[in-house]
């Protein structure tokens, strides 16, 4: 499973998340709009997954494991994301 619901209610992304994960994340976030997404173990994610994160702007717990996510997508999330959330690249 590349998408898990952690005990604290946060959504954990692990490994390489395929496009199907987009719908799962969307459902979790609809169920709990305050849930944060922990992508520290996420190596790569399909555009569909990133799209859901861009649209929902959940608080992110990072940095993510993958280079592209860490160097580029995290910066993008920071620009579009809510202030003060822990989604920095460092």
């Amino acid at each position: 499973m590349t998408v898990r619901l952690a005990r604290d209610g946060s959504i954990e992304l692990d490994g390489v998340c395929p496009s199907d994960d987009a719908e799962k994340i969307q459902q979790h976030l609809i169920a709990d709009p305050a849930a944060s997404v922990d992508w520290r173990l996420c190596v790569a994610a399909h555009t569909a997954v990133i799209q859901v994160l861009l649209a929902a702007k959940p608080p992110l717990r990072g940095p993510p494991a993958g280079d592209f996510l860490r160097d580029h997508v995290a910066a993008l999330m920071k620009r579009v994301g809510r202030d003060g959330c822990d989604n920095g690249a460092g």
Binding site: E23, P33, T47, A48, V52, D67, L76
Partner: protein
């Protein structure tokens, strides 16, 4: 190591060399616009290459230097020795990184901190450093400018901007737009936002793409176009740095291929969804032409697309694209290359290991050829017609193999420039450190020699150069008192002399202090009193190559940092070269390296001792002669013979190699007189045989340490011939 990294290492070194040469030339002629442009291009390309392998630290460091040159180019600042020094320091750092990467294959961990030092160095030099470099922009659309602003400082490095609006159903077609962007060469930053405003989360279709993806890369537009080729109709690609020649009409190969593909697409009949096909081809072609800034053609194609869609006739569009293509003659894209000497463009980069494999194979072929020669000799006894044919064929084979060998060895040849390249700037450093103004005059840098020679030569040359600056060149006051030019001249000259390459380092300094060397030699007991008295000045000067002198550094001050002149001689000798020195008091010193042109090819003379055969490098042989055995007289622990009033030490080869010597014939002795680094010695052998060309194979493994043997080669009859290392034997 990853192929990209390997390529990066090779190319970056070339650009560093190019930039170094340009900077040093600029220092002499600050108004040389061509050099400035060339240096700028080299830095710019270095930065781009660093981006391709994701080496951001290097890109940052090089960018700082590029900024300085860029400002100089637009006349915002003057080039100064200090700014050139900063740029050279930056290149030094790059070389250190490249060296580290060559070993580990990875970006050095300390690179970011080291890059900060370089950047800080430039920042100190520039009180006001504009954050965005004033690069020419040929009207990129506003989205590209906005994108650059949004992503911050890194945007200044960008060369190409991409805006990609994937089709809504692209996920179903297996397209992953961000993965495509992630794979772009030299990616600097990305941005993405909704194509139409985000609906509430529960209304969002997670499998419909509603994104506009944008990216900045440090790579060329053509590389980006290649990566985006199959989605070009959904892309806008902007070149942020206009580097193409103005008015250039040529279409790069990749763009041409895309345009041709659109024409083929339009030519297909009976295809499904012809309108969609035409629209897609038309938009793709328009975008390619816009990217190429061929606006008239792009507009023409766009109008043709409208007409085509209205009449459902693809021919109008095809004609328009064809027109754009035909107007532009096909051009081969030439990547920005370092300024090269004319005629050197047609080169191939070949792994040295492959050339070596070819060299080895040629060696084997020569052995096979020699064995046929041996067979011919054996057949001659019968004198049959077959022997005549064989002999004839052998002559042809001999000629062809000889040709092949020359060509193959030629592949290992490099210009000495590669060994010389770093010396001018190192001399500049020494000159500054020592406060002795000096200039380097280089001649014959294009002289070629075997790769091994060229690669070995740098260290010895550097050492000799340091000696020249440290001890040869006088301080300013002394030079003035001697009415010498205030700026010292160091000459570095190379040339081909027959089968040899001669490299000379000369200075116009004080020359070697012969009296002082005599004194030191005595003090250190390098030679006996009575011997020293009989030595000519030249012989005394030659003693600087003796091992004893390198350790006497503090006394003679003749050695620089690390290696002594004996190490120089050893390094040169290892590859079959010799080094000599000439000095004239008050006028200067010249150190001369005489090196073989090819390391692998040796002409040897075969000699016999104790029933075995050995090879001696013919270069070292002065003469062979027979003398009455009783002329060889014991002298201390060794033997000697007097030849033309000169005492020459005699070494019996069988004794030297520890071989069982059968009873020596009384009466005559066969001697091979050799000259090693100017010293004569005679080798007593049983017989002297033929002279042959051999490919010398140095020993490796256990045999490498064998004393007195330089290597081996195979003879025509299949036996192994050991080639002697005379220098070791006579030590």
């Amino acid at each position: 190591m990853n192929e990209f990294v390997e390529q990066f290492l090779v190319e970056s070194r070339e650009y560093v060399e190019q930039a170094t040469t340009d900077l040093l030339a600029l220092e002499k002629a600050p108004d040389d616009r061509e050099r400035l442009d060339s240096a700028f291009r080299a830095f710019h390309t270095l930065k781009g290459s660093a981006g391709i392998v994701d080496f951001t630290a290097m890109a940052d460091a090089v960018h700082a230097a590029e900024d300085v040159l860029s400002e100089t180019r637009i006349g915002a600042r003057a080039i100064t020795p200090a700014s050139i020094g900063d740029c050279l320091a930056c290149l030094d750092q790059v070389i250190r990184w490249l060296d580290a990467m060559a070993v580990t294959g990875a970006i050095p961990p300390a690179a970011t901190a080291e890059a900060d030092v370089i950047v800080a160095r430039f920042a100190r030099a520039t009180s006001v450093r504009p954050r965005t470099s004033p690069k020419r922009r040929s009207m990129p659309d506003s989205w590209a400018d906005e994108l650059r602003e949004r992503v911050g400082g890194i945007g200044a490095h960008a060369r190409t901007a991409i805006r990609y609006v994937p089709q809504a159903d692209c996920f179903y077609a297996g397209e992953d737009p961000l993965a495509r962007i992630a794979a772009l060469p030299g990616l600097l930053a990305i941005d993405a936002g909704p194509a139409s405003p985000w609906p509430p989360l529960d209304a969002l279709d997670p499998f419909a793409c509603n994104l506009v993806v944008m990216a900045l890369t440090a790579s060329h537009g053509s590389e980006v176009t290649a990566s985006m080729a199959d989605v070009m109709s959904h892309c806008d690609i902007q070149d942020l740095v206009d580097e193409r020649p103005k008015g250039g009409r040529e279409i790069p190969l990749q763009a041409r291929e895309i345009l041709q593909a659109q024409m083929e697409l339009l030519a297909e009949t009976g295809a499904h969804d012809p309108a969609g096909r035409m629209a897609s081809a038309g938009v793709a072609a328009t975008n390619v032409l816009r990217y190429l800034r061929r606006r008239a053609d792009a507009d023409h194609v766009a109008r043709a697309l409208e007409a085509t869609l209205k009449d459902s006739d693809p021919r109008v569009l095809r004609a328009a694209i064809g027109l754009a293509l035909n107007e532009a003659p096909p051009a081969v894209t030439t990547p920005a290359a370092p300024v090269e000497a004319p005629g050197s463009a047609r080169t191939l980069r070949i792994d040295a290991a492959r050339v070596d494999a070819l060299v080895n194979l040629t060696g084997e072929l020569i052995v096979a050829k020699n064995s046929i020669g041996h067979a011919v000799k054996m057949g001659q006894v019968n004198d049959s017609a077959l022997t005549a044919i064989l002999k004839d064929r052998f002559a042809t084979l001999d000629h062809l193999v000889g040709e092949l060998q020359r060509s193959v060895l030629g592949m290992r040849v490099l210009p000495l420039r590669q060994a010389f390249q770093r010396l001018p700037r190192l001399l500049r450093e020494m000159s500054t450190d020592l406060g002795k103004p000096a200039r380097l005059v280089v001649e014959g840098a294009e002289t070629e020699a075997d790769k091994a020679i060229v690669e070995m030569l740098f260290e010895p040359l550097l050492h000799v150069l340091r000696n020249a600056m440290d001890h040869g060149v006088e301080d300013a006051a002394t030079r003035a008192a001697r009415h010498k030019a205030s700026v010292a001249t160091i000459g570095l000259r190379a040339g081909r002399q027959g089968e040899h390459v001669v490299v000379e380092v000369s200075d116009d300094g004080a020359g070697i202090d012969v009296a002082r060397i005599r004194q030191v030699a005595l003090e250190r007991g390098i030679v006996a009193d009575e011997l020293l008295a009989g030595m000519s000045d030249q012989d005394v000067v030659n003693m600087i190559f003796e091992p004893g002198f390198s350790t006497a550094r503090e006394v003679t001050g003749l050695s620089g940092r690390g290696v002594g002149m004996d190490a120089v001689r050893t390094a040169v000798g290892r590859l079959g070269g010799q080094v000599g020195v000439e000095s004239r008091a008050g006028q200067g010193t010249t150190v001369r390296f005489t090196l073989p042109f090819s390391v692998l090819m040796t002409r040897v003379m075969v000699v016999g001792a104790a029933g075995q055969f050995f090879g001696i490098a013919l270069d070292a042989v002065v003469e062979t002669l027979r003398v009455e055995a009783d002329r060889i007289v014991p002298m201390g622990a060794t033997f000697a013979v007097v030849l033309r009033n000169r005492t020459v030490p005699v070494l019996a080869l069988s004794d030297a190699l520890g071989l069982e010597q059968a009873e020596r014939r009384a009466g005559e002795a066969t001697l091979v007189v050799t000259n090693i680094n100017g010293l004569h010695g005679a080798l007593r052998v049983d017989r002297v045989g033929e002279r042959i060309d051999v490919m010398l194979k140095p020993f490796d493994g256990l045999l490498a340490g064998m004393r007195g043997i330089a290597g081996s080669t195979l003879l025509g009859d299949g036996s192994v011939l050991l080639v002697l290392d005379l220098e070791e034997l006579f030590q």
